[in-house]
């Protein structure tokens, strides 16, 4: 359970009074102030607020063994950008700062060589772009379905050889994969209803995802090749955005089952459901730190969207 302590509120309030010219600097100052902050309140004590600008954010992912965090942010009225934050220095970088289109849903291969994202402005609403950081070359996978086809929520397989994703293309909203060259398209789901938000266990054997094939959106597991789908959760209000813990034993996800979106964890065998957040505003987009003991997520607090980091016990 989490409630922000007054120790957090004070520096934020200070920041709120800073002028626009100092906003960029403000984010860094507050980040550094919050890192390592200690208080007697154990629950709040371990919560770290990693950003402060309050803009709409989504899809955080850890990079470089957890030393960095990347996410998407509505940084201009007509642009969603990918922001990358170094958690040690507090320095943030906007990827493609001069671009005019939208960049969605970054993902990074385990070895750091490849990264990928959804990009607008091409022949599809969002194409999948895979970048090889070794030579800077990129390939794009543009799904069938014309201008309106969309790729979202990509994830690399642990061996870095394929990318799985949510696809809006002929056949409905499904989960599919391509190889690192954007080729060898393989559908992984072909069910009724909506499928999406996949994540892969670190051993590369299992995919967790959401599907409405049985009615409402619930979590499902399937083998990496799409075989043997089995339902993990069963609630009439949606469970989405699931993320395997690094050891594969647990799954974090967003659920609206209490009427408001909160972060939950559940064991990968379906036992041990536990709610991690409890706030009247939105908690969403959980992602495990590679160390397996913390979860970053996007919290809406006082109408602002920022990235936070919380510890997760056993």
């Amino acid at each position: 359970m989490w409630n922000r302590s007054s120790l957090f509120a004070f520096p934020l309030r200070l920041c709120a009074f800073a002028s626009r010219q100092y906003r960029a600097m403000r984010s860094l100052v507050v980040l550094l102030a919050l890192v390592g902050l200690n208080s007697a309140d154990a629950a709040a004590d371990d919560i770290r607020q990693l950003t402060t600008n309050g803009r709409l954010k989504f899809a955080p992912v850890f990079v470089a063994d957890g030393k960095e965090l990347a996410w998407c942010e509505h940084d201009q009225p007509t642009r969603v950008s990918i922001i990358r934050l170094n958690l040690e220095t507090g320095k943030s970088t906007t990827m493609f700062p001069n671009a005019s289109g939208h960049f969605f849903d970054p993902a990074f291969s385990a070895d750091g060589r490849y990264w990928c994202f959804g990009r607008s402005g091409g022949p599809r609403q969002l194409s999948l772009v895979i970048v090889d950081t070794k030579d800077g070359k990129e390939v794009a996978f543009e799904p069938a379905g014309g201008l309106r086809a969309t790729i979202r929520t990509p994830r690399f397989t642990p061996d870095g050889k394929r990318v799985i994703f949510t696809i809006n293309a002929p056949g409905g909203q499904q989960i599919a994969s391509v190889n690192i060259k954007g080729q060898d398209y393989r559908p992984l789901t072909q069910s009724e209803g909506i499928n999406g938000w996949p994540d892969i266990s670190r051993d590369g054997k299992t995919i967790v995802f959401s599907s409405s094939r049985a009615g409402s959106l619930n979590l499902f597991l399937m083998n990496i090749d799409g075989s043997e789908p089995r339902q993990l959760t069963n609630h009439r209000l949606r469970d989405v955005r699931s993320a395997f813990s690094p050891d594969g034993r647990r799954i974090a996800f967003t659920s609206a089952r209490d009427g408001n979106r909160e972060i939950y964890v559940i064991n990968s065998d379906g036992s041990g459901l536990k709610r991690l957040t409890n706030h009247k505003e939105r908690d969403d987009y959980p992602v495990w730190h590679p160390g397996g003991k913390q979860i970053a997520w996007i919290a809406e607090r006082n109408g602002k969207f920022d990235v936070y980091l919380m510890p997760v016990g056993e």
């Binding site: 007509t78 409905g172 809406e300």
Partner: protein, 452 residues
């Protein structure tokens, strides 16, 4: 484009940032300030002001205010329906806060439109009239439509200080092809177009067609003589022909720049932090808050636009409701939660301030989306049946008016036409049959009796 400056709210430190108005030669949307005078004859208005919350792009009725939990999977979609405080009303699970506030509003579930393209459907919805020349998609012109509802009410009311029809967006609303040509005065001319203001997520207010005039400071702007001198210099630097076009705007811009009321109304930092937080730090949220301030200032008609463009993810677009692809991902990410938060905050705020009874809030788009999920797992345009939300200003709350059929494809009863929407808004705002006839607008229109 002629720069005069733009307004901006103070930041939270209380330090005024450079904030000016900037008027452009191509300023088609700048009616209002010259419309001084007294309200013409008509009914005593139950709605002193109207707020149209415009969800451009076509919000999915099945995924918001008209869920079909018993429909086939290819219609129903992945979102569950939840019960509201209104026994007859279910809404999507994306709207939990609005579900708790259904005693404040009513929902029409049987709106219809006549065209399936964004711009003509938008123009039809905003004017209540069908184009006489085919509309935007068939080469129609501005005067093919009647004046928009906002333009009609502004003309009727003759606002005394602020413009009578203010539209909040980054520019004229429409799609990537162009603006809805029915969003303004139509055959009455540009003088009756809405005055456009833009409000960003920080609450900074500017005039979209206007840009900053370098070198002007708020202090200089406050000095009318200084500003006039600046503008005179500007005037000498331009051709007389475009300036004549701009002349009315020039007066309006000066009026706004030197109006203490305008600067007060546009300054969102005068709100408590709690109020600003309630609306959320998004452009749509702060725009709705600005809209409420405009209502307090007795602006007769305020249109708050969700976005300027209907499109969601093309490079120019700003996350409109045209979710041909990834409808369910996008609605779960942004559209549903933002609408739920902001519309709830607006209704709460108006209610708590005692303004809801005298303010008519109408929330709708130009149409809905296909009840049957399309081949790529999303929803396309659907003008045969959609929803609108009505609150305050003489509307009975807690009602469901009309009904769609089992799949949400067509009205099962009581279809509500754009003319009925326009007529009802005007009637509640004090323009009854006689006043509309006198102005030759929406003559013969019917009010949605069940709402009143």
């Amino acid at each position: 484009m002629f720069d005069i400056g733009s307004f901006s709210s103070r930041d939270c430190s209380g330090i005024s940032r450079r904030a000016f108005l900037q008027a452009g030669a191509a300023l088609p949307f700048a009616g209002g300030l010259s419309a001084l005078g007294q309200e013409k004859g008509g009914n005593p208005p139950r709605a002193k002001s109207v707020m149209l919350i415009w969800l451009g792009g076509g919000p999915s009725h099945l995924d918001l205010f008209d869920p079909k939990p018993k429909a086939l999977a290819q219609y129903r979609g992945p979102f569950s329906a939840i019960q509201t405080r209104t026994p007859e009303l279910l809404v999507s699970e994306l709207l939990p806060n609005l579900a708790q506030r259904s005693h404040l509003y009513s929902v029409v579930q049987s709106n219809i439109n006549y065209q399936g393209g964004h711009r003509p459907a938008g123009s039809i919805a905003m004017t209540g009239t069908r184009p006489t020349d085919g509309g935007e998609d068939r080469g129609g012109k501005v005067d093919g439509y009647g004046p928009s509802i906002g333009s009609i009410l502004a003309k009727h009311r003759q606002s005394k200080s602020l413009p009578g029809f203010i539209s909040l967006a980054r520019g004229p609303v429409g799609d990537g092809v162009g603006p809805n040509i029915g969003q303004g005065g139509g055959k009455w001319g540009k003088a009756h177009d809405p005055f456009m203001l833009s409000c960003n997520e920080e609450g900074d207010v500017s005039i979209p067609k206007l840009k900053l005039l370098e070198g002007l400071s708020p202090a200089r702007l406050a000095d009318r003589k200084t500003m006039l001198r600046e503008l005179d210099q500007l005037r000498r630097s331009i051709d007389s022909k475009p300036f004549r076009v701009w002349d009315g705007v020039y007066d309006q811009a000066i009026g706004l720049l030197t109006s203490s009321e305008a600067t007060r109304v546009f300054d969102l930092s005068r709100e408590t932090e709690k109020t600003r937080q309630a609306f959320g730090r998004t452009a749509f949220g702060q725009s709705c808050l600005l809209g409420r301030r405009l209502v307090e200032a007795e602006v007769p008609y305020v249109q708050v636009n969700w976005s300027r463009y209907v499109e969601v993810l093309f490079p120019f677009s700003d996350y409109g409701w045209d979710t041909h692809s990834d409808n369910f991902g996008l609605l779960a990410d942004w559209h549903g939660p933002l609408l739920d938060r902001v519309l709830s905050a607006l209704l709460d705020d108006l209610h708590e301030r005692g303004l809801l009874d005298s303010t008519l809030v109408v929330c709708m788009g130009e149409f809905g989306r296909t009840p049957k999920i399309n081949s790529i797992g999303s929803r396309d345009h659907w003008h045969q049946c959609y929803f609108s939300v009505w609150a305050g200003g003489g509307v009975k709350p807690g009602l469901v008016v009309g009904a769609s059929d089992a799949q949400g494809e067509f009205p099962a009863r009581d279809p509500v036409t754009p003319a009925m929407v326009g007529t009802t808004i005007l009637d509640l705002a004090g323009m009854g049959t006689a006043a509309r006839a006198e102005m030759r607008v929406l003559e013969g229109g019917h009010v949605i009796d069940a709402l009143l």
